[in-house]
């Protein structure tokens, strides 16, 4: 036992992601409660905003750097993180439950001989142990669980843990040049999708379903998303019909999201759809069927026709914003 926590900070395009700062803040609160030390690690080429981690209660960050590490490499990243965790004898390693976090955390856990709890939505401490709550069965139940092995790996769901008050301390940044990264597994290209904003990272989502009647009517959903600065999401029905790409699908076989505002238009609210969005903070439903299941989880609803309500809503929001 060294009483040490390590936080992995994920960078994309040389910027630490917001979800990593949420994880850093949460982990630093845990460290304070447990009276543990905490530090962070990141891997990349050049990372611009890494010192900002200090604002979230983590005062030391070690950056493993090499020009070939700008993009993710499962092999190189997991080796560097696990080696550093061993070197510092960290007991607990935190990741965000992002596409990178879900890939690297299990690799690191095997290298450390650690148990893993993924996609945690809350962490409590009881008798000096971390008790994590995480959704199972696509959010239809929650479990409280603990890791019984000496070394522990947790991933935290993005956009759930509150960043709260932040300070203005800058973290001490130690840069370590990596001589020969293990690139047996490497990203050779990133294909950006056409969507401007990914649902998994958006604060506001406007999701359209089969009630839109056809691909040609989605401009209404896109316009509403535009005026709100939101991402466009959808149901599986429209993906299967070929109206929308799978990258926009929300639900059990799509993405899990928890934005501040989720507006569902012409979506019935099937159990598999709700699975992916029920942890949204505020839910609005627009559906002409007042008995549609989506209304049972919506904070506000309009039981009307999308073709009448959407254009009016777009105008109203434009007015409210100007």
């Amino acid at each position: 036992m060294s009483n040490k926590i390590l936080v992995f900070l994920e960078q994309r395009n040389g910027q630490i992601k917001k979800s990593s700062f949420e994880t850093a803040k949460t982990a630093s609160d845990i460290a304070r409660h447990l009276n543990y030390e905490i530090e962070a690690i990141s891997v990349g080429a050049v990372i611009e905003n890494v010192a900002e981690t200090g604002r979230y209660g983590v005062n030391k960050v070690t950056v493993f750097s090499n020009s070939t590490l700008a993009n993710y490499s499962t092999s190189a990243y997991s080796e560097l993180v696990a080696e550093y965790a061993k070197e510092t004898d960290a007991d607990i390693v935190f990741f965000s439950n992002t596409s990178m976090g879900k890939d690297i955390a299990p690799k690191v856990s095997i290298k450390l001989n650690a148990g893993t709890l993924m996609d945690c939505v809350s962490l409590d401490i009881s008798s000096g142990e971390i008790i994590a709550t995480r959704p199972v069965y696509a959010g239809r139940a929650l479990i409280e669980a603990k890791i019984t092995s000496a070394k522990k790996v947790f991933t935290l769901r993005p956009n759930v843990f509150n960043i709260g008050q932040t300070g203005d301390t800058q973290a001490e940044v130690v840069i370590k040049e990596v001589a020969v990264p293990n690139l047996s597994n490497k990203v050779i290209e990133i294909k950006k999708s056409e969507e401007k904003l990914d649902v998994a990272e958006a604060d506001i989502i406007v999701a359209g379903g089969r009630g839109l009647k056809g691909a040609e009517n989605f401009h209404l959903v896109e316009e509403l998303a535009d005026v709100l600065g939101a991402a466009v999401g959808t149901s599986r029905a429209t993906v299967d019909a070929g109206w929308r790409p799978h990258s926009e699908q929300i639900g059990q076989t799509g993405k899990t999201v928890s934005p501040n505002l989720y507006i569902a238009v012409g979506i019935s609210g099937a159990i598999q759809h709700i699975a992916g969005m029920s942890s949204s903070k505020c839910i609005v439903a627009i559906n002409k069927d007042k008995d549609a299941p989506i209304f049972s989880i919506a904070d506000y609803g309009i039981a009307g026709d999308v073709f009448e309500v959407l254009p009016a809503l777009i105008e109203e929001i434009k007015r409210a914003k100007s």
Partner: protein
């Protein structure tokens, strides 16, 4: 070369979840179990690789006898053989991965397909854990897969796009929806699968590293307010979003 595919047997996604009397797991009474939906993409991709390379395929599942149903489904779709690693205990992902890794080693399978996630505990890591235990390369959440000799080019879904990953065999691939369109089992396939013997052996025993203390229902979300039935309500809606929910 041999290709393996790991399948889990999970509650149908529309199942109503009722918490069991021990408050630690679901009440299985009345729950319909079926092959985990993501594992169908894994099977399809294994079959495509088999058709291209002409090699042997095997489906592996660890758990109770009921898992044979999902193994049968794999056989009906065209997988050559199946093995059940029998285990009646509740296992965490780590001990599941250890059992699977052991069998993959025994089978000397060099290309192994998993689903990206099992729709019970939604862990999404069994493939990655198994790869790491075996020392295999791994690409998770794959939506496009190409194998050329020893070389793999796979595309994995990430926030805002896809990463194109280059790696080599031996490897574990975890399948995401969109990778392919799983075939339906033909009647002939179903009949043939019924006749096949599914090998059964005890799963490697190992200790769990995760303990479930409690299972509970998520807090009930109170149904909200229906503000109206037409566009006359949008003013009120925008006001509430601004002033009450404070989200815009």
């Amino acid at each position: 070369m041999k290709i393996a595919v790991c399948v889990s047997h999970a509650p149908d996604t529309a199942t109503k979840i009722i918490i069991g009397p021990d408050n630690k797991m679901i009440d299985p009474n009345g729950v319909t179990y079926a092959i985990n939906p993501f594992d169908e993409y894994a099977i399809e991709e294994a079959l495509r690789a088999k058709e291209k390379l002409g090699c042997e395929t095997i489906a592996i599942s660890t758990g109770r006898t009921a898992n044979k149903e999902s193994l049968r489904k794999a056989l009906a779709m065209g997988i050559d053989n199946a093995v059940l690693l029998r285990d009646d205990a509740e296992r965490d992902t780590l001990s599941t991965a250890k059992a699977l890794a052991e069998e993959i080693k025994t089978q000397s399978a060099e290309l192994v397909f998993f689903g990206k996630q099992s729709v019970d505990y939604d862990n999404s890591i069994t493939g990655q854990l198994t790869a790491e235990l075996l020392g295999y390369n791994c690409v998770s959440v794959v939506v496009d897969f190409k194998l050329d000799g020893n070389k793999i080019i796979a595309e994995r879904e990430i926030e805002g796009g896809r990463e194109v990953v280059e790696t080599t065999l031996p490897a574990v691939i975890t399948a995401q929806k969109g990778l392919n369109e799983p075939r339906y089992a033909s009647l002939k396939g179903i009949m043939a699968a019924k006749k096949k013997v599914i090998e059964e052996k005890p799963a490697l025993e190992s200790e769990n590293a995760v303990e479930i203390l409690k299972m509970k229902k998520p807090p009930m979300k109170h149904a909200g307010r229906i503000l109206g039935t037409d566009k006359s309500s949008v003013g009120e809606l925008v006001r509430l979003l601004k002033e009450e929910a404070k989200v815009i």
